[in-house]
């Protein structure tokens, strides 16, 4: 029976080609627009590390100004920590794994004289970074806690930098001259670009990952520059780099891995205890306000999904509603136009149910066609977004299978819903009146 109804549907669509095309086009436009914006929002709000996102927590403690909260709107603690906290909390080693980090940069002078010196962005971090965030390695691996503690000059390169410096060879054991110091290569990452770049959203949630990784505490040893956001509520006491490190300026991030609720509450207790100790030393003038948010909680807190993207998504949903209303109207017109035919079918024995199924299938067919065309439009839409926004959205404009099927699914469901009322009206056409008017 299904095949027969499908045939009827196709026939009916062909018979009134212009009206049908209008409907398909309206659905396609609505779906195309919605799919484009959903994709961007979906990728912006994607879980960058699904296997562990509930075990990784961003550490926030409130070291801020006694007179002003860091965040006036919600009273949240500062979004980064000071050098002092980075050191103390890291050295305490109270979590299963912990990482402190910051952004920096320096000039790399390649061994190969043919390559000009260039500036590289640096992630200053600690050894657990690589195991906590499951970074893929092409060669070698991360470094151990001992390297952090002894401030060893080791370096992990991204694939891109390894290709540039060593032509993609296994460079483990070679040295890289970075910011005037020689670093021994211990690992080369395979392509790795978490989206969003959750481990440091303060410095651009969709930015590229840094190009090289070196031990965090070397910042102090070699006075490496601060890149990224630095906020201070009071200026450093005294001059020079040491004074800056010891100041209340925040430029550092900390993540901990906590595998159970118990570990989490233990860690929070440790933080509270730590803050109390600092209060006794005259720091932390504000009320106790420590926060541990997991990956998705932190993304939400930092509003990683851009307002513009959200706005476009809402607008496109309303756009879809208009297109569907349009479809309801046109389907109604179409089915009513067929009332004589329906009356005849009813008179020669088709049940209401038959008529209902037949017309729902017709509506679904239109939805399917609209969905397919809409998918094509969405691909155009994403190319358009990329042209308009440039490299910034590079990683946010790819349509995957999940999204493709979702789109077609939405199109069919929406058009069946849109077809319900017109179909219901069509079923209720009485056989007798239609026959008598013939």
């Amino acid at each position: 029976m299904f095949g027969y109804y499908l045939k009827l549907a196709v026939k009916s669509i062909k018979k009134n080609a212009l009206l049908s095309m209008l409907m398909v086009l309206a659905i396609a436009l609505g779906i195309g627009a919605s799919m484009t914006t959903i994709t961007v929002n979906y990728l912006m709000s994607a879980n960058p590390i699904p296997d562990k996102s509930t075990q990784l927590f961003y550490v926030q403690v409130d070291s801020w100004d006694p007179h002003n909260a860091f965040n006036d709107d919600n009273g949240d603690p500062p979004n980064q920590i000071t050098w002092t906290e980075a050191n103390n909390l890291f050295n305490a080693q109270q979590a299963t794994k912990q990482v402190v980090m910051a952004k920096s940069g320096g000039i790399i002078v390649p061994e190969n004289q043919d390559i000009n010196p260039f500036q590289a962005s640096i992630r200053l971090t600690t050894g657990d970074f690589f195991t906590m965030f499951d970074t893929p390695f092409l060669f070698g691996g991360g470094w151990q806690l001992a390297s952090d503690q002894q401030r060893e000059q080791v370096i992990v390169l991204t694939k891109r930098i390894n290709d540039k410096l060593f032509g993609g060879e296994n460079s483990i054991g070679r040295t890289v001259l970075l910011a005037g110091q020689n670093y021994k290569v211990v690992g080369v990452l395979d392509a790795w670009q978490p989206m969003p770049k959750f481990y440091d959203v303060n410095n651009g949630a969709f930015d590229e990952s840094e190009e090289v990784f070196i031990p965090f505490f070397l910042k102090e040893t070699y006075e490496l520059p601060n890149w990224g956001n630095t906020n201070c509520w009071k200026s450093p006491e005294g001059e020079g780099f040491k004074a800056f490190l010891q100041s209340e300026c925040i430029n550092y991030q900390m993540w901990v891995q906590l595998n159970s609720e118990q570990e989490k509450s233990d860690y929070l207790a440790f933080l509270n205890n730590y803050v109390s100790e600092q209060k006794a030393l005259g720091r932390f003038p504000r009320d106790m306000n420590n926060q541990l948010l997991d990956v998705m909680g932190w993304m939400e807190n930092q509003q990683v999904v851009e307002d513009d993207a959200k706005m476009m998504m809402w607008m496109s949903f309303m756009f879809l509603v208009v297109c569907l209303l349009n479809t309801v109207g046109l389907l109604l017109a179409k089915f009513m136009g067929k009332s004589a035919e329906i009356g005849l079918r009813r008179a020669i024995g088709a049940s209401k149910r038959d008529v209902f199924i037949q017309h729902i299938i017709e509506a679904a067919t239109i939805g399917l066609l609209g969905g397919l065309l809409g998918l094509a439009l969405a691909m155009f839409g994403l190319v358009g977004i990329k042209t308009l926004y440039g490299d910034f959205v590079e990683n946010l404009v790819s349509l995957d299978w999940v999204m493709a099927f979702t789109g077609i699914g939405i199109a069919i469901v929406a058009s069946v819903l849109a077809g319900l009322y017109p179909t219901w009206r069509a079923c209720n056409i009485a056989p007798a009146t239609q026959l008598s008017s013939q």
Binding site: I107, V322, L325, V328, I385, G390, F392, R425
Partner: protein
């Protein structure tokens, strides 16, 4: 107007169809009016002047890396060399570039003490030629003299004694005073460190175009003693691209540094406003598409209703109705539907605007957008229905004699 009654009663016999169009018009209006509002607001923002000579300015970064690299000597030499190039009006070292998206901000307050709130402002560290290089106007007070300029060491946390503020900043700090009267006033940085306003310039935007305080900035008389340093260069009209090449060559001759990020101000401006411009284009597309979709919907439904009423139209024609009467009938019918739609639309528009204001901190729209939107959508409806209505007028009176 006599026909209004019958048309309305006829409409009630096909409530659903009419209601669908009305709702569609309402949604369309909500989206279109809000989009137009956002477009106008964004395009006004993108047109705000930054205060500098954007078309003829560019900047470049120099990062020294060799061990015996002297920041001080290099900066002095570079500035002398760049300023000597024919085609260059002036060049300065600067810590941040207006509208570029990255920079330095501080808070200034008129009373000392941590308990007082500061006014956020961007900081531009420049020498006595900053005003000329940035092409800003000194409105009151005086420029820095060469002896005012100090070298700011790495990680220095204190500030010079003199500053030059923008007019907007002067007004924010001293709302009761005319900007000229702020000369000689003391303001405090870092809660307690005093600085004296010695000059007021007309306009110089902060690096962050989305910032609430985008017009607040001040000039601080200092050079930065850093291995990595940015130069801002203003050229004669039309000389920018040529000068970019020359400056790059000039700086690259020194092999103990990396010359990078040479960009025109036009380029960073385009990048900073790219999101705005993209939004404007996307919303324009939405408006056009939506108008087309809704118009086609009206055309489709009106054609259908004309077809259904062929016999009725024929009878009316046979009874003496003119073609104009028929046209009038359908146009009026659409006007009734549209009127209902735009009334609903006005409510939806306000609702959507409230949602946007709440969720995305947009400013509320002005009232006049609503009536204008209502009028425009009624006109769109009339235009869309005109085709089918004209077709209806061509139905011959003889149709009345046929049975179908």
């Amino acid at each position: 107007m006599l026909t209004l009654g019958p048309i309305f009663r006829a409409l009630l016999r096909n409530k659903v169809g009419a209601l669908l169009i009305a709702i569609q018009i309402a949604f369309t209006m909500a989206i279109i009016v809000n989009s137009v509002f956002i477009i106008i607001e964004r395009s006004q923002e993108t047109k705000r002047p930054s205060g500098i000579d954007e078309a003829n300015s560019f900047f470049v970064n120099s990062s020294g890396f060799s061990e015996n690299f002297s920041a001080k000597a290099t900066i002095e030499e570079d500035l002398a060399n760049i300023r000597a190039l024919p085609g260059v009006i002036d060049a300065i070292q600067i810590n941040a570039i207006p509208v570029s998206g990255s920079g330095w901000s501080m808070g200034l307050q008129t009373e000392p003490g941590a308990e007082h709130d500061g006014v956020g402002t961007a900081v531009y560290m420049v020498d006595e030629r900053g005003i000329n290089a940035l092409d800003v106007q000194l409105l009151a007070g005086e420029n820095f003299s060469a002896s005012d300029i100090r070298w700011r060491g790495n990680s220095a946390s204190d500030w010079p004694d003199k500053i030059i503020v923008t007019e907007a900043m002067a007004k924010r700090l001293f709302p009761d005073l005319d900007y000229a009267q702020t000369i000689g006033k003391t303001v405090y940085i870092n809660d307690t460190e005093p600085m004296i306003i010695t000059g007021v310039i007309d306009k110089l935007q902060a690096p962050w175009v989305g910032w609430n305080n985008v017009d607040n900035s001040f000039l601080s008389p200092e050079y930065l003693e850093r291995d990595s340093s940015s130069y801002f260069i203003r050229t004669e009209d039309g000389q920018r691209d040529e000068m970019m090449k020359q400056v790059e060559e000039l700086l690259s001759a020194n092999k103990s540094r990396v010359v990078q990020n040479m960009r025109s101000v036009d380029y960073v401006r385009e990048r900073s406003y790219r999101g705005h411009n993209a939004m404007i284009k996307i919303l324009s597309t939405v408006i056009i598409t939506l108008t087309i979709v809704t118009s086609l919907g009206i055309v489709g439904l009106a054609s259908f209703s004309v077809n259904r009423r062929k016999k009725q139209i024929g009878i009316r024609r046979a009874l003496g109705a003119t073609k104009a009467d028929i046209l009038h009938y359908f146009m009026t019918e659409n006007l009734i539907i549209s009127a209902f739609g735009v009334l609903l639309g006005a409510a939806l528009t306000i609702g959507l605007n409230m949602v946007l204001v709440n969720a995305l901190s947009l400013t509320p729209m002005s009232w006049f957008y609503i009536p204008v939107g209502m009028l425009v959508l009624c006109l769109v409806g009339q235009a869309a229905v005109f085709g089918p209505a004209r077709k209806a007028t061509s139905i011959a009176p003889a149709t009345a004699t046929r049975t179908v």
